[in-house]
Every structure is written in structure tokens, then in C-alpha cells.
Symmetry: C2
């Protein structure tokens, strides 16, 4: 197994560098092929690292991008931020991928300005594997863009299909558009036009429209929507899961009988709780850039940050950007 | 208690008139103030009603609107459909409200053409009370419109606020816009402009942006979005709930031990299962029309259809349209 280096923006998350440093230590300990470059305030990171680790190094960055900072402002004034420095490490080949828990808009703006896009792709999209009853589903865009033209949706479908092939080994991933109904007449103009374009495509195995409830029913391998819709669908789903977990915990903590049955039920609920655990699913891919860029939840804890680093390592190992780029190159000829 | 009459479009649902007739019989039996007019094929309805009920009558309609029929086509060719006839019963005062499990687009088109809109409101919206851990939240639009201008969103917020006052008795309902983040800079143009308009409003208690996960956290009483986003959020939430219920059932049906613990746990899971039961939550309100129009899920079963009829009766009893209309009239002066 060849060695991998991931740059971790240690400063931009809500919980500060402590979480990033702890997750980096966990990650290098569990994966002997992995090295990590922590990007941020040198003194602070050194103090947190204590005796350190031979496969963890520090790359200094003096600035931090705030969560509510305008991406355009960050782009002008924060070229020395931990986020920008981490992305440049990927561009310069010192790392093969990077992870940031910072401002999504700024990560997209810096990502596009620092790392080259795939040929023929206008905008990156954020994508994630959503667990379902059987199998998993790549959903994009989850919030890189607040709107999308039919051409953008078409390109997301193409990238999503290539991603599903590269990550899940599917030869003809089933690609669908998220819509308010399955009938042909439904939906807004962009979605209807994108559907028309996809139906003509030789490259994408387009299966038509799916609805929000289909995301968890293994009817498609890739589901495409604009970033506004995708972000709200994802967070609504997480909200329902959170509500249910809370109700389940309440039910099994009321009285002696409740706690006893809860204890008896614990082993059976393992799969359900794992499937619903947000920390396990942390880490969304910035798809469209010729490099692995993983966005972590802003308020990720150590376990969640570790999941995001693992995902970056996995995409690097599977050479996701190279494989997508090669296929897009062929298609553009 | 004064008597109420609800017109039920018995023909337009996926499961045919059998479900509507059975639900109508249940509804009049449990509510002595309620009369129902079943609208549809007389012979078929009479056969299903058997000996009948003194508070159930039949109003003949020869046509049925298909689920995938274009609303514009239905409007031209299906004036004698069960849906249109049911709406005219409301317009003519023979019923105070109606319920249909048919084509949403057609219901909106006929609703607008048959029943007057509130003063100053351009488009109706579909709204529903979403259960959360504490309290409930009115969400709109859930799919009446596939897009919405800032003015539309503003009007939805106004109607939603008046609805929450009328239905839940809140004096200053907390009204929020659904967005991809809580920061002021987030979101698409329509949402940002609507936020600006709402912030200036004396009538609406606007609290700013909320995210998808906030729908279940009792942070707002009314959440406003366009119909594309709302429909997908609602169905995604239902999808997650369905997935979880299925996993829970799987966990408690595996082996003797699993089934035993499941049986022991059943009483504790009651609240959770009730909260997640789609049939109990069936029935969405068409808000914007001067009359009670309730949209049922297309594939509603008897229990779900009964829930929709109950909701129509509740809104009629609470005089929701008159109360909203009076307030809007005042505001327009």
C-alpha cells in the first residue's frame, strides 16, 4: 500500500483545533500508510500535539476564515488562512487530499481558485453517500450552489455517475433527478430540461425522476438536485433521525422497566443506531475539483472529524479524481 | 355545536371510492355534528354504501381526473369531475369544506378557478402541521407551486402566521424562512429578498432563517419555503421515518429473543410509532382559498382518509378561512 498524505485545516471548525489534532492522531495510529499535515497556528498546534507523532507535521497559517464571512471577502483578504494553505498543499502535490470543517462557501471559492476543475465542468457540487435500507445512494448537490441551471444539473449527474463507478465499483450506476413527483409533467423548468438532456445521454444511465422518500429505498445509485434543495433535504433527514433517536432514548430511560427493556434491546438496535449516527457519516466530497477536498460538519467532534479524514484517505487510495478526470477527458474528445 | 358538511371527492384517489366511502362512514359515526356529501359515480357509491347513513348523501359527478393529467387539460375537459363538483359544493355553500385525494396540480387549478382567493394573495400554498419533539410547526408551501418569488414567500409567511393563530391559538407565532444556513448572507435571491421584506413587517413576528433540521426542534411555529423545496423536505422526512420504522421492526422480529424484547418494548414505543404513523398525519390544507380544501395523500387508506376528513371538519369548526380573511381584509385597508 503506497503512502498517502492528507492536509487537515485545523483551525476553521466551530470547536477549534483540539478536535482536529485529536482526530489526526487517531487517524495516523489506525492507518500506517497515512501521514497528516495539520494546517494552522504553529504554537497552538504544537501545544496540542504534545510529544507529537512521526507522521504528523505542521504547516503554519496565520489566518482563519470565520463561519459567517462572505466567500468574496475571504478570497480577497484570507489567502494566508488555514483553509487556503491546506488547499495549496493539495495543488502543489505535498498532500493528495484535504479536509476542512470551515465555511462551505469559502471552501468552494478557494477550492475553485486554487485547484483546477475537471474539463467541461462549470461548478463543483457537494456529494455524500446516504445510507438506505439496502445499499447507499450518492446525492448531489448538497449545498455548493444555491441554484443550478439544467446544464449544471446535467454535469452533476455526469460527475455523480463517474463518482459512483469509482467509489462503489458500479458499471452502470442508476442516475435520477430529484423532483416533486414521478410524472413527466412535474417539476420546475430546470429539472424538466435537465431530464430531457439526460434522457438523450449515452454516458449516463438515466432512470428518470425520484421523490424525497425514494432516497432511502435503493431505487437509484445517484440522485441529482440543486444545492438549495439538497441541503434542505439532507438536514431535514438528519433532523427526523435525530428526533427519532431522542424519542427512542426517552422511551428507554423512563422508569426501571423502561431502562431494563432498553438494556435488553441495545444489541438489536445496533444497526439502526449506527445507521443514524451523524458522526459516522461526517465528510462530504467536493466533486468537480482535480483533487480530494472533504468538507466536515462545522461542529464535528473528534469521532466525526476522524470519519472525514478516513473518507479523504479512501478517495485518495481509490484515485477518485484521476479516474473521473480520465473519463471526462475521453468524453470531451 | 353547529352542524358541518364536508364534500368528499370519492373518485380521485389511487385506491378508488371504497376507501372514501368507508372513511366517510367512520367520520359521521364518530362526529354527530358532521354530514358528508360523497361526490362521484352514483351507482358505484350507492353499492359501496349499502344501507347508507342518514348524514351521508351522494352528489353525482360523471368524470374523474387522472393522477398524471395536466392541470390545464383537466381545467378544459373535466368540469364535471368529482373534484370540480366537490369544490363547487363549497363555493355554493352546500358544504363548508372538501377533501380530495386526487391530482394536486388539478386541485390547485380548480380550487383557484372555483373558489375565491383571499384579498392580496396571488397563489395558494399547501400547508401541514409537522410534529416535533415539543409542539408542532406549520410548514408551507409543500408543493402547490414549484417556484416562488419573494412576494409569494412573503404572502405565504403572512397566511401561515394567520393560520397558526387561528388553528393553534398563538398570538404571535414565530415565523421563519427555510434556508441553507442561518447566516444573513446565505440562500438564493428570492429567500434573501423575502427575508428583507419580512424583517420590515409589523404583522409577522419574523425570527429569521432556520435550517432543515430545525423543523423538528420547536424553534419556529411557521416555516416558509417554495413548494419544490417543501415537497422534497416533507417526503425526505417521511422517507427517513419510514426507514427507521422498518429497521425497528426488523430488529424486533429477528429470532425468539428479538421478538420477546420487541413485545416488551411495544408500550414504550407507542409515542414514537404514533408520531411516525403517516396515516395519522394525512391531510394538507390548501391555504389561500376562501374555503376549506384538504388534500389527502393519493394512496391514502381508510384510516388516512378519515384523518383528512377530521382535519377538514376541524378547520371548518375553527372558521379558519373567515378568520384569515377578516385579518387580511383589515391589513389591506
Amino acid at each position: 500500500m503506497s503512502s498517502i498524505t492528507i492536509a487537515v485545516d485545523a483551525m476553521s471548525g466551530d470547536r477549534g483545533p483540539k478536535v482536529a489534532v485529536a482526530a489526526a492522531l487517531d487517524a495516523v495510529r489506525e492507518n500506517e500508510a497515512l501521514s497528516i499535515i495539520l494546517v494552522g497556528n504553529q504554537a497552538e498546534l504544537e501545544a496540542l500535539l504534545q510529544e507529537g507523532h512521526p507522521r504528523i507535521t505542521i504547516s503554519e497559517a496565520v489566518d482563519v476564515i470565520r463561519m459567517n464571512e462572505r466567500p468574496s471577502h475571504a478570497l480577497r483578504h484570507k489567502q494566508n488562512s488555514s483553509m487556503a494553505v491546506a488547499l495549496r498543499l493539495v495543488r502543489d502535490g505535498e498532500a493528495q487530499g484535504c479536509v476542512s470543517a470551515g465555511n462551505t462557501g469559502a471552501l468552494m471559492a478557494f477550492g475553485r481558485s486554487i485547484i483546477r476543475m475537471y474539463p467541461g465542468i462549470e461548478r463543483p457540487a457537494i456529494t455524500k453517500l446516504i445510507p438506505s435500507l439496502r445499499g447507499k445512494c450518492h446525492v448531489l448537490d448538497l449545498g455548493a450552489n444555491v441554484d443550478a441551471s439544467a446544464e449544471n444539473l446535467y454535469q452533476f449527474a455526469l460527475m455523480g455517475s463517474l463518482m459512483a463507478s469509482a467509489v462503489s465499483g458500479l458499471t452502470e450506476p442508476r442516475v435520477a433527478l430529484l423532483n416533486v413527483g414521478e410524472e413527466e409533467i412535474k417539476g420546475n423548468e430546470q429539472v424538466r430540461l435537465a431530464s430531457h438532456m439526460l434522457a438523450q445521454s449515452d454516458t449516463v444511465n438515466y432512470i428518470g425522476y425520484v421523490e424525497g422518500s425514494d432516497l432511502f429505498r435503493d431505487v437509484a445509485d445517484v440522485v441529482v438536485c440543486d444545492g438549495f434543495v439538497g441541503n434542505i433535504a439532507l438536514k431535514t433527514g438528519e433532523g427526523v433521525a435525530g428526533l427519532l433517536i431522542e424519542l427512542l432514548e426517552q422511551a428507554f430511560s423512563r422508569g426501571v422497566y423502561g431502562r431494563l427493556v432498553g438494556w435488553l434491546a441495545r444489541p438489536m438496535l445496533g444497526r439502526l443506531l449506527r445507521l443514524m449516527d451523524p458522526a459516522r457519516h461526517n465528510g462530504a466530497s467536493f466533486l468537480g475539483l482535480q483533487g480530494v477536498v472533504i468538507k466536515s460538519h462545522g461542529n464535528a467532534n473528534e469521532r466525526a472529524m476522524l470519519a472525514a479524514i478516513r473518507q479523504a484517505a479512501r478517495e485518495v487510495t481509490m484515485e477518485v479524481p484521476r479516474r473521473i478526470n480520465d473519463r471526462l477527458d475521453e468524453l470531451m474528445i
